[in-house]
């Protein structure tokens, strides 16, 4: 991973926190460094926060996610360049961050993750973000996203179906006007889901859209 490359020259404050991150052993120390990296606000620190996604400590991963999100769109390229191909837990955090930032550049990664990733946590996160991210892309990508989200409504994992309902809501709200009827029709099909959670969630979406649009 590029963040651990010794050839990379880091600003002194980031380098110091990088060293502290290496030496930290307790959860409290790790959290301290993660928060400091966020407060420092230097983009060179983002790869370190992304590394903290892979420490296999939920509290640290979540804090790192919050801090990455503070950088907004400046985090998109570091996130895309540092996707962890081996640790799906870490990858899920990166995809979650990209899903929440909602920048169009994440579109190819989200589509690939939905289609090809084996880890449910990654597929759920990617599905959740696809509506928001696709809304920033040209119409043809939005159409592809709509199609993919319709397929996701038939996924075996309830979490992917739930995420698809939320993403279709985003697409109806933020995407091209011409797609809105199809997105709403997809939500209507979610009312037929045999798992009672999915229709309940879809009905909430329909109510939200009815008052907003």
């Amino acid at each position: 991973m590029s963040s651990s490359s010794p050839a990379q020259v880091l600003p002194p404050a980031v380098a110091q926190l990088a060293a502290q991150l290496e030496q930290a052993t307790s959860e409290a120390e790790l959290l301290g460094v993660v928060r400091a990296l966020g407060s420092l606000g230097q983009v060179e620190g983002i790869p370190l926060l992304i590394r903290a996604f892979g420490f296999n400590r939920p509290a640290v991963g979540e804090a790192a996610l919050e801090e990455v999100l503070r950088f907004g769109e400046a985090a998109v390229q570091p996130l895309l360049a540092n996707i962890d191909g081996f640790d799906y837990g870490a990858r899920a955090y990166s995809v979650r961050a990209l899903a929440r930032i909602g920048h169009g550049d994440a579109y190819p990664l989200l589509v690939d993750s939905i289609v090809a990733d084996f880890a449910p946590s990654v597929r759920r996160a990617a599905t959740r973000g696809l509506g928001r991210v696709a809304a920033q892309r040209p119409l043809c990508d939005q159409e592809r996203a709509l199609q993919l989200l319709q397929q996701c409504l038939g996924d075996a994992d309830w979490g992917v179906r739930y995420a698809a309902v939320a993403a279709l809501t985003d697409l109806a709200r933020l995407g091209e006007l011409s797609l809105r009827p199809a997105a709403k029709a997809a939500l209507q099909t979610a009312l037929q889901d045999a798992d009672p959670l999915i229709p309940l969630r879809a009905r909430l979406s329909q109510e939200e859209l009815a008052t907003e649009l």
Binding site: P58, A59, G61, E62, L80, A81, I83, G85, F86, Y88, G89, A92, R96, P108, L109, D112, S113, A116, D117, F118, P120, S121, R124, A125, R128, W158, G159, Y162, A163, A166, P196, L197, L200, R201, L204
Partner: protein, 263 residues
Amino acid sequence: MNGSAIARLASNTAVLPQQLTWEQAIAWLQGDDPQERYYAAWYLGTMRDGRAVEPLLLALQDERDRTALGGYPLRRNAAKALGQIGDVRAVPGLIEALSCSDLLVREEAAYALAQLGDRRAVQPLLALLKSQEEQPWEAFIEALGHLNASEAEAAIRPFLDHPSERVRSAAAWVLYRFTQAEELTQVLVALLAHPNFSLRQAALFDLAESGWLAGAPLLATANVALNLRLNALKRLFDVALQLGWVPPDQVAAAIIPHLDRLF
């Protein structure tokens, strides 16, 4: 995403189980290769075909596949598969397996009986709960919970003081389902903050199993991997809906805001 990231993603694919036809699976189960028999027993569980019940009941009495310590691996998988298939013809055989010398067979048999949901298992489980020898207590208590055997309340209550956290946790969720006594939730809440990760995870799902809807915020914020918290919230939703203590709209209102924040 750059090229190397795609290559790394592509290398990270799950290993798919070997596909067998029903005839092949039965042939493997009845063959001589211990590994093939073991695999076939598991595989037949995933196929959920009632024709496998009788061959699996025979496997549940197998004497050939034994570990150095005297365990019966094939029996364990056969019990598990019989639970998944869901055919109540397996109930008498599984009740018999509750007394197998292999504790892991007893455990799988108890969970399988819970899955079958047949009340004939209640009295045998209740009798074993009073036994003096070592038993898979957690499995027996949870099976009685899933079977809604509220007549087991008095027999389960002493396990709230058991030295094992997992046994105490199982007793707490089962007794909460029977009594809805608020103090039982405190056992689960305390365990959810345990320094040991795997105990926190067990408490997460035991809390979901209890049906205690007010515990949803604790599930959402527990120090456990996010995906597990999502799954636990979903399980609490399913359990609360099934128990029917509150109407579905209130269950949804208690769970969906947390799911939406975590997704």
